[in-house]
Structures are given as C-alpha cells and as structure tokens.
C-alpha cells in the first residue's frame, strides 16, 4: 500500500524544524527513522499533511558522558546504542534492550527519539527508560523542557509530548559498579515485539543484602509499568534466589495484564512471573561479577 500525499520538509536546523511544526500544527509529523511512521503511513493508519524530516539536522546523533549520567541524542540509531562502548559500560540495560529491537536493518535506521515518541507499550526503549528513571528533553518553539520518563508515557502510543515539540535527547543515570542490570523478553519469533518484557537493576550491599532494586514490566499493560513500591519493600532482604522468587510472585499478583485475542491475560501474567524471576537472578549475578 502507498502513503497518502503529504508535503515534505527537510530542515537543516532544529529551529527551522520547530517553526515548521508550529506552522503546520497537528497536521504535521516529525520523520526520524521512519521504521514506525513508514508502516503506519503505508497502511494509511497515519495520513499527515506534512512531514518534517529531522535526519538532516546536525547534532542530534550522539552519546555523551557526564559525571553521573549519559546523554543520548534523539536521532541516535538503535544499532549505535546497542554497540556503543559508553552505553554498554554505563547503561548496560539500555544496550541489551537495543540489541533486541526488531532486526538488523531496522536497527540501522530506527532512532531512540522515535521509539520514545511512538510509545509502543511493548517497545524496548520506553521500558528501559522508565525503569532507569531517564529524563526526556523536548524542544518547542521558544522553550525546552525535561520530562521524567515516569510522566512521559500516558497510554498506548500516547505521550506527554505536544504536537509542536521535538525530542532532542534522553539522559540516563550511569550504573554504579556495584549494580547489575538486565533486560529479558519473550516473543514468539526473533525480532517480533515482546509479548512481555522485564527490565531490572539490582544493587546488593557489601553484606549481600538488597540495597536497591528497580523493576519494570513492558507489554503487559498500556504503557511500561515500574513496580517501585514492590521493589522497595525488599530492601534489606538477603539477596538470594528466595528473594527473587518472592518478588516475582509479588509482581505476578500486582500486574493485571491486557487480554488480547491471541494472548490471554493469564498467559501474560505467567510470563511476568517467570521473566521477573529470571531478570532479577540475571541482574544479581551480574552485580556480583
């Protein structure tokens, strides 16, 4: 199928892009990697009047290290994130998640900004960013603001972003050396969207007890879900497989997944149970290394 007609703009600067979005209003769409927008337009699920292609804007494609954080430009491709030595060292969960997005060719073009703006509830980056407590920076005409990932994803493919805003970067905390991180997902075929995905960070203290845990579930509900209270409750427990099993059972009880024709809610709940234990054990093992 072919896309409906649109006007095409390829601005060279962010300011020009923002001016174009302000001018066209909600009828315009930002075009980044086109790996989600392209299919939607070909299937005519999206029919924007105008596309503002941001690929020619310099300075949106980078990974930068700060003292306590890393900052990733919105136009950075999935493949670059998956293979960046900096991301792999400072934010291993993000790199591990990026490696599992779709397929090799898709990862060459898809961008982190596009993935966050698209906000598929089963997508890797929204889950990783929500779990890690990332901050998303968006530019609008005349102002730039930072939105916590926890407040960014509103529901299925809906975010806190205004139509005339462009995501410019994402900032994530660097993992301390004592922390282990892991991302696991279940999908029926390699490269398919996850049916359920789990992300976790585990920080044991010197005595082998849980100091800090972060746990996020993707694919189960209409947006990535961070189980902060459940995870906090286990602080001080002995870091062992019993702890992981208990927290997995608590996650199973807490998550009420969506029911879809091909994937019944109970199947998703079982996956939450199994994958939570797996992601916690993996993250803990990595913390001890």
């Amino acid at each position: 199928m072919k896309p409906a007609p649109f006007r095409y703009h390829s601005p060279g600067t962010l300011d020009e892009a923002l001016a174009l979005l302000a001018e066209h209003g909600a009828g315009a769409k930002v075009l980044a990697g086109g790996q989600s927008l392209g299919p939607m337009m070909n299937m005519r699920l999206a029919q924007p009047d105008a596309l503002v292609d941001i690929n020619a804007i310099a300075g949106l494609d980078y990974v930068r290290e700060h003292e306590k954080t890393i900052e990733i430009g919105a136009l950075t491709r999935h493949h670059a994130i998956a293979t960046s030595p900096l991301v792999r060292a400072a934010c291993p969960l993000l790199a591990e998640a990026a490696r599992q997005i779709g397929h090799y060719a898709i990862r060459q073009r898809g961008t982190i900004g596009g993935s966050l703006a698209h906000a598929d509830p089963a997508a890797q980056f929204p889950l990783a960013c929500a779990t890690l407590g990332a901050e998303i920076t968006a530019a609008g005409a005349g102002r730039t603001r930072t939105i916590a990932a926890s407040e960014f994803f509103l529901s299925l493919m809906s975010t806190a972003l205004e139509p005339e805003e462009i995501i410019v970067s994402v900032t994530l905390p660097k993992a301390p050396t004592s922390e282990g991180q892991a991302y696991v997902q279940f999908s029926r075929r390699r490269g398919d969207f996850a049916i359920v995905a789990l992300a976790a960070t585990v920080r044991p203290d010197a005595g082998g007890h849980i100091d800090q845990v972060r746990l996020g579930v993707g694919g189960a509900t209409d947006r990535p879900m961070v189980l902060a209270e459940l995870a906090d409750c286990t602080r001080g427990e002995k870091a062992d497989s019993g702890w992981a099993a208990r927290l997995a059972k608590a996650a199973y009880d807490a998550v009420a997944p969506i029911d879809t024709p091909r994937v019944p809610a109970e199947f998703r709940r079982e996956l939450v149970h199994v994958l939570t234990r797996r992601v916690l054990v993996t993250a803990l093992e990595r913390a001890r290394r």
Partner: protein, 154 residues
C-alpha cells in the same frame, strides 16, 4: 499533489527523478531507475525483500521516501556481481541451493553484504539473528545459513 525534481545516486550513477514526495524508494528504484532487482513483499518493513544499502548501511527501501535520499548513496543488488562475477555470498547461495524462487534473495544478499563487513566472523547464532529480518517462503532458511557459513569459513 506536486511533484519534486531531485537527483538520486544509485550504484554510483546519477538519476534525475521527478516524483511526488510520497513515492517510496522501492517504487522509484523499480519504475524510474528501472532497477527491478529490489523486490517488494510487504511494504511495511517486515519481509526484508526490499533491503538496499544507504551509505553502506542496510535499510528497507519501502520505508524510505525517495526524496529523502538526496545526497546519499544507494546500493542495490544490481551492483553486487562485478562484471558478471557473483559475489562470494551469491556464489555460495548458488552452490548450496540457498534459494528457490529467489524473491527474498536480493534482500538477504544486501543485508549480509553490510553485516559481514561489520562482523566478518559471525557465529551461526549471530547469522540466524540477522537472517530473522528476511522472510523466505521457500527454503526453510537452512541452506541460506549454510551459504553464509560457507563464506565465513572460506
């Protein structure tokens, strides 16, 4: 809707194109440039048949508007065999029966053209992971994996 005029660089040759911005790169390659080796299976990024190289990196031509490709270099399957001599992967696919109807083959060759440059010594597991982005309805994949392994171990 208005058309735009632009130049496209495909396999080192310049093509003057007049097309609506919505015209997909697949359609411009096939209809305007008359390069029909790039196949179209699904038009939503899933099957991989339309995979070409953009500045050396694999991309779905069905998810690109041709107008976006100004200033970029596109490589299609037509440029892979040199002077009638098949590339190592094309030759291996031929030898181990890695294709039947051939509909998927161009996309697979283009994908691995780029991948093997990045990772010349992949494991079978890595090959299968990359191949997951290209659907083949005939071969059952086994012989395609074998063909890539043959190139890797050559």
């Amino acid at each position: 809707m208005d058309t735009v005029d632009f130049e496209l660089s495909v396999n080192g040759e310049r093509h003057a194109v007049r097309a609506e911005p919505r015209k997909l790169l697949t359609d411009v390659l096939r209809e305007d440039c008359r390069l029909t080796g790039t196949h179209v299976g699904c038009e939503h990024g899933v099957c991989g048949a339309c995979t070409v190289l953009v500045d050396g990196r694999p991309a779905r031509a069905c998810l690109l508007y041709a107008v976006q490709m100004r200033g970029h270099e596109i490589t299609t399957i037509e440029a892979i065999a040199k002077d009638g001599v098949l590339s190592p992967l094309q030759q291996a696919l031929h030898e181990v029966h890695g294709l039947q109807c051939g509909f998927c083959t161009a996309g697979i060759v283009m994908t691995f053209e780029a991948y093997l440059k990045e990772n010349p010594r992949p494991t079978e597991e890595e090959i299968r992971d990359v191949l997951s982005g290209n659907l083949c309805r005939c071969t059952g994949y086994q012989n395609i994996v074998e063909a890539v392994l043959k190139v890797v171990h050559a």
